[in-house]
Amino acid sequence: MKTLIKFLTIFLLFNILIEGAAATLNVIVVTDPSGEDPNGFAGGSMSFAPNMFQSTFILSKEHRFTILSGGEGEAIPRLMAIVDAINILKNGGTAAEAASAASGYSGIRIMCGGVGKGAAVGGSFDAYLVTVDDNGIITVTPQSGGLAVLPPGKKGAIIHLRNTPGNPMYGTAANVRREEAIKIGKMIRDGYPATVIVAEVFKDVSINAGEKHGGGAVNVASGVSTGDMFTPANLNETGYPMDQPYAKVCPHCGWSVGYPTAENYQVCPMDGTPLKTIYAYDALRDAITVTKGTVSVSVYGSDEAGVIQTTQEIVKATVQEDGYSEEAIAKAINDAIDHGLIIGVNYVEPKDINVKPSSRAVGVYYTPLPDDRTAPPMNLPLSSGFFEVLGDIQTALGCVLLILLLFRSTLISSFRR
């Protein structure tokens, strides 16, 4: 009997160990099936398990569909199912057809949806199908295994949630899944956009069910993904915990700092404004929600991640304060270069800023500095050659003095002789 139990434990452990990327939360929310509302179609994946790379929340910007995957099966059949689903959706198939691709492989789940294609989940799942009709009547039906479909042209959502073995909150999935399904239905009825609802689901699930590591989310209607914001950096690591603080932002000038460094900052070092803490689920919502204040900023001339992100934040803050003014943006960027926030590029002039207020787009053209310099050349009244000669003379004099000092007594005595 004892050996049997031992054997069973080892078997169970082994099962947990070989488990690949198993997204345990997959959610798709549709609040505008026509795709006209830029925030009306969104989805996302999250898990307690590691390896939640972007392959678990694939987005096609061109064809406007998303594929969320998961399941306890092996990696290769999962990939094959994903590629099958991509091919079906690219060739104009519906979400129901694409999701049924998963049933050909054991233990795999494919949840997919696209503008004009509806949404569906197929394979191995425990989900709730939420539909909201135009009179505001919410229908919530549990579905598990096989195929669950939200037909094209209907408002609603599909949420799949399971607990990962080893999660300290194991066993909460069934309750949270039902609560979330009802909450999603109410939020759709009350007119919230899909991206906000998805962020809300991420918040509740990460706090109440512990399936909290990103993953990420996509805005299908506008083709925006959180990309690698929350995904793990390396293989066999977990992603960012979605219930934790993500960054601190200055509401005035746009200066921001990520965690864990942010713990040391209470006020903005630029202007002393108290910083606002952004939780990961807030950051997710802001990243995928397209608003009137959204400015698309393109940066040319520097590929450094820090430079691009800082420039985007600065431009956004400036546009909110001063509107689309080349002079104001150039001044704000030059201030940031002076403060050392942006390094490796030269000062910009208003002609290096290209604004298109109609499409809410700003382009910034930097000139990179030569020889790995971090700051632009200083503007001094005297030439650099003068300083070089002066510096060399001073250094030499200093060294001569030191030597004189060392041999002082010898020298003095030799003079007296």
Binding site: A21, N51, M52, F53, Q54, S55, I58, L59, S60, K61, E62, H63, A75, I76, L79, M80, I82, V83, N87, K90, G227, D228, T231, V299, Y300, G301, S302, D303, G344, Y366, T367, P368, P370, D371, D372, A375, P377, M378, N379, L380, S383, S384, G385, F387, E388, L390, G391, D392, I393, Q394, T395, A396, L397, G398, C399, L401, L402, L404, L405, R408
Partner: protein, 140 residues
Amino acid sequence: MLIKIRRDTLFILLVAYILIVSGRFMTYLSYASSTTEPEGVPVSGIIIKGNDIVPTESIRSNIAAAGFRQGSYIKGDTLVTSKRSIPLDEAIANAERFAKLSTIPGTSVTPIVAADVKVDKSTGIVTVNVIEDFSMAEIK
């Protein structure tokens, strides 16, 4: 005091110290205010088109691995990177080969079947056009 130092010794030591520090500072100032012209056209930006599902960052990092990255510059027909300098044609061929190895992050699926890299020698802007085809994607 363990060591006896005369006051004028200390004074000369101080003067020498100040001289050296300010001398070094002057040399730094001359470096900071010098305006050296870059030797070639720096690679100023990478524009990626045609990708739908493969994220732009994956392709960008592969193109960077082929030498088109921050800090590299184009000098005539050679690309000078932080590691070595190679003929521009070879770098472009490498970039095209590397672009085709871009995957969906977290998988081994390489859906890019063709890539075309163009380099503008006067502005330093690199344009990458790729074609994705999932019907030919291999899964290993």
